[in-house]
């Protein structure tokens, strides 16, 4: 009897302790998610909305802008994420060498971009890649190009600028994960390999990379999610242009809600496309990186 009373009071106390967190979670996370799901089934202009069922999903399939935004987003994903992760891995490997001079200085320098103000760096990138910007000046002076490249006015080059800027901003962030993981690898493994005469590249490829596998998987998933939600750079540097060439799904959602005739229901539908994509891609990545020993 006393036992069960204690158990009950423990249970009540337990729930009382987690209740505030649960209520907040429900209010600010679960409710908005459910509400946006409900909203994605509605059509209408501005605040005047009505139930439309799957009209929005049908609209998706015939929307050329959506298809462009989707293609751009996936292009960024396919090009930028591998470049960034390989760079981060190489940097981490180089900076992990205890004999390297000025190691901590380089680490800070490479990490710094991801803590700089987004707006400030976008403005700087915009001016650097301007028609008369420092990048064109430099390339011209080096004799690499004959006439200035219209970085922000040409669909192809605008994509290049976006890829360059996200890479600049996030490489250091991923590098830190790799560095931390590398420092957990036992030095004696490398020593043994060195004594056996394994060359440096093979030590990197056959020892470091496999041992970093869980971290590589983690950074790949994180970067994939980040790139699928890419908004800041296209919005601040290229405005999605020229000609929708850097329009991403997030930017399209923003345009649908805040630039065009407000169409919140349809915008919610597009945002669920991102949710589905994140789900599918994460599952694929986990599947590819699964442990085959078992």
């Amino acid at each position: 009897m006393a036992q069960s009373q204690l158990a009950r009071s423990e249970q009540i106390n337990g729930w009382a302790f987690v209740a505030p967190a649960l209520i907040l979670l429900g209010l600010f996370m679960i409710y908005p998610i459910l509400w946006s799901l409900w909203m994605s089934l509605q059509t209408g202009r501005g605040m005047v909305m009505s139930f439309g069922g799957f009209t929005n999903v049908m609209r998706l399939t015939q929307d050329p802008v959506f298809l462009r935004a989707l293609t751009n987003t996936l292009t960024f994903l396919a090009i930028q994420v591998p470049i960034m992760l390989i760079l981060a891995l190489l940097f981490a490997n180089a900076l992990n060498d205890s004999k390297l001079w000025g190691r901590s200085w380089f680490r800070t320098a490479i990490f710094l971009p991801c803590v700089t103000s987004l707006v400030a760096y976008s403005v700087v990138f915009r001016s650097m890649f301007g028609q008369e910007g420092i990048i064109n000046d430099m390339l011209m002076n080096l004799g690499l190009i004959g006439s200035p490249i219209p970085w922000l006015a040409d669909p192809f080059w605008a994509k290049v600028v976006i890829v360059a800027s996200i890479t600049w901003r996030w490489t250091g962030y991923n590098m830190i994960f790799y560095l931390a993981a590398m420092q957990n690898i036992d030095r004696s493994i490398y020593e043994a390999a060195r004594i056996d005469g394994v060359p440096a590249w093979a030590r990197f490829w056959y020892l470091t990379v496999p041992m970093l596998k869980p971290v590589i998987l983690f950074t790949t998933v994180i970067s994939t999610i980040g790139t699928l939600q890419l908004f800041d750079e296209p919005n601040l540097i290229t405005l999605g242009g020229p000609s929708d060439s850097t329009l991403t799904l997030s930017l399209y959602i923003y345009n649908l809600s805040f630039k065009f005739m407000p169409s919140f229901g349809y915008a919610a539908t597009v945002s669920y496309v991102i949710v589905v994509l994140v789900g599918i891609l994460s599952v694929i990545q986990f599947f590819l990186a699964r442990d085959r020993r078992a």
Binding site: R68, S243, F260, M261
Partner: protein, 424 residues
């Protein structure tokens, strides 16, 4: 003991600060907040209006908050959509293309001014733009009447005078541009591939738009629109244009002398005149005409905007009184902003003032205001509808296809398909 005292003093200090803050808040009841873009133009005219109003209403202060136009529109739309009125201004500037969109998608957000302003004094097309279900919501402001702004000194160097630019077609402009480039090495026009402004200018100059009068899509079979597209294509193909990215590069290209002309709205006068060292080197010609299009004129419109009062505004009554007194009836005020900012307002009475007949030495002594005023009267009326932003985005998406020499009919069909998809 001393500790208790100090605690009491602190509490007292806090209370006093609270009270004084409260009084400050009460005293600032006469503060009207305005959101606007372009401090050289809209901001400057609003400040001038406030200065005049202040003479009779010393307690009123008008604060103009300056944003980039796109930022202002998106901030306004985001706040209206969220339903949070805190932080919204009393008065907001809205570009005419977007007026109906705001009025129709946010019912009740703007204050009807129908019986507060005498609309018979204003150009009817401006009043029409801001009228929904019999209520008018704006105080009409500037017109975006267009002209071709050019560097007369550079064109003179290539052997052209003002007379050579009067009543020409776009094809003739291409010939002139090619010749100027050969003789002076300078490119004629800057083009932003992310801005469909020039196509809108061409379209309206022949009385056509993306939409019919009843709001239905008018693109794939719109002969005027297709002529505008192919003219754009010719302009780019002829090599007399230079690509620019964004507003700053665009205005920078002709104020620095890198390019020598641009067809744009009269409101560009302020930006051009800000470079005092170029006085006398500029001229303004009528807009070139579309070739072989029935009803084509030399007059068109780009932009133009009006003031709106928000229903949620804390100082609504004062804001309305301010707008009605100065913007709604003070013809002298319009004379002043015309001369200083190049603002061609839409208050009809202002057009009879002396400032309109004066010549401007900056533009080679031409009676530029009289000219703009004449062109203003000839602008063909069109219905902007509520989806101009969407249509613009569709045109911009096809500009690379256009500049790489694509088939105009196919491009128009693609734009048509995208717009039809977006306007549901």
């Amino acid at each position: 003991m001393s500790r208790t005292t100090s605690r009491w003093t602190r509490a007292l200090a806090v209370t006093m600060t609270g009270i004084s803050l409260f009084t400050v808040a009460a005293a600032s009841a006469g503060e009207i907040t305005v959101w606007a873009w372009d401090p050289n133009f809209n901001g400057a005219t609003m400040n001038k209006a406030a200065e005049i109003y202040k003479a009779d209403h010393p307690d009123t202060t008008v604060t103009v908050v300056d944003f980039a136009k796109a930022d202002l529109e998106q901030k306004l739309q985001a706040q209206l959509a969220s339903g949070t009125t805190d932080g919204l201004p009393d008065i907001v500037l809205i570009e005419d293309y977007g007026a109906q969109k705001y009025l129709q998608s946010f019912p009740g957000a703007f204050e009807p001014l129908t019986d507060k302003i005498d609309y018979s004094n204003f150009a009817p097309y401006k009043v029409e733009l801001a009228t929904l279900n019999g209520q008018t919501y704006s105080v009409p402001f500037d017109s975006g009447v267009t002209g071709l702004f050019y560097r007369s000194d550079v064109l003179e160097e290539a052997g052209y005078t003002a007379a050579d630019l009067a009543d020409i077609t776009w094809d003739r402009l291409i010939e002139i541009g090619t010749d100027v480039k050969e003789k002076t090495g300078k490119v004629l026009l800057p083009f932003d591939p992310n801005d469909a402004g020039i196509i809108r200018i061409m379209m309206q100059s022949a009385g056509s738009w993306y939409f019919n009068a009843d709001g239905s899509v008018n693109i794939a079979d719109n002969a005027v629109f297709k002529e505008a597209l192919s003219t754009y294509q010719d302009l780019v193909a002829s090599g007399i244009t230079k690509p620019v990215a964004g507003w700053t590069e665009y205005t920078g290209s002709f104020t620095s002398g890198d390019t020598v002309a641009t067809p744009t709205g009269v409101w560009m006068v302020g930006t051009i005149k800000a470079n005092a060292d170029q006085s006398g080197m500029w001229g303004i010609a009528p807009l070139p005409k579309l070739d072989g299009v029935e009803g084509a004129t030399h007059a068109s419109n780009l932009g133009g905007s009006s003031w709106y009062v928000l229903s949620s505004a804390p100082n609504k009554e004062e804001a309305i009184d301010f707008l009605a007194t100065i913007w709604g009836s003070d013809a002298d005020f319009y004379q002043e902003i015309l001369v200083n900012q190049g603002a061609v307002g839409s208050l009809m009475a202002a057009r009879e003032g002396a400032a309109y007949s004066e010549s401007d030495d900056f533009f080679g002594g031409e009676p530029v205001w009289q000219n703009f005023s004449d062109w203003l009267g000839q602008i063909p009326a069109v219905n902007y509808g509520i989806f101009t932003n969407e249509a613009d985005a569709a045109v911009i998406a096809q500009i690379p296809a256009l500049t790489s020499g694509g088939n105009v009919d196919e491009i128009a069909a693609a734009i048509d398909a995208q717009v039809r998809q977006q306007v549901q």
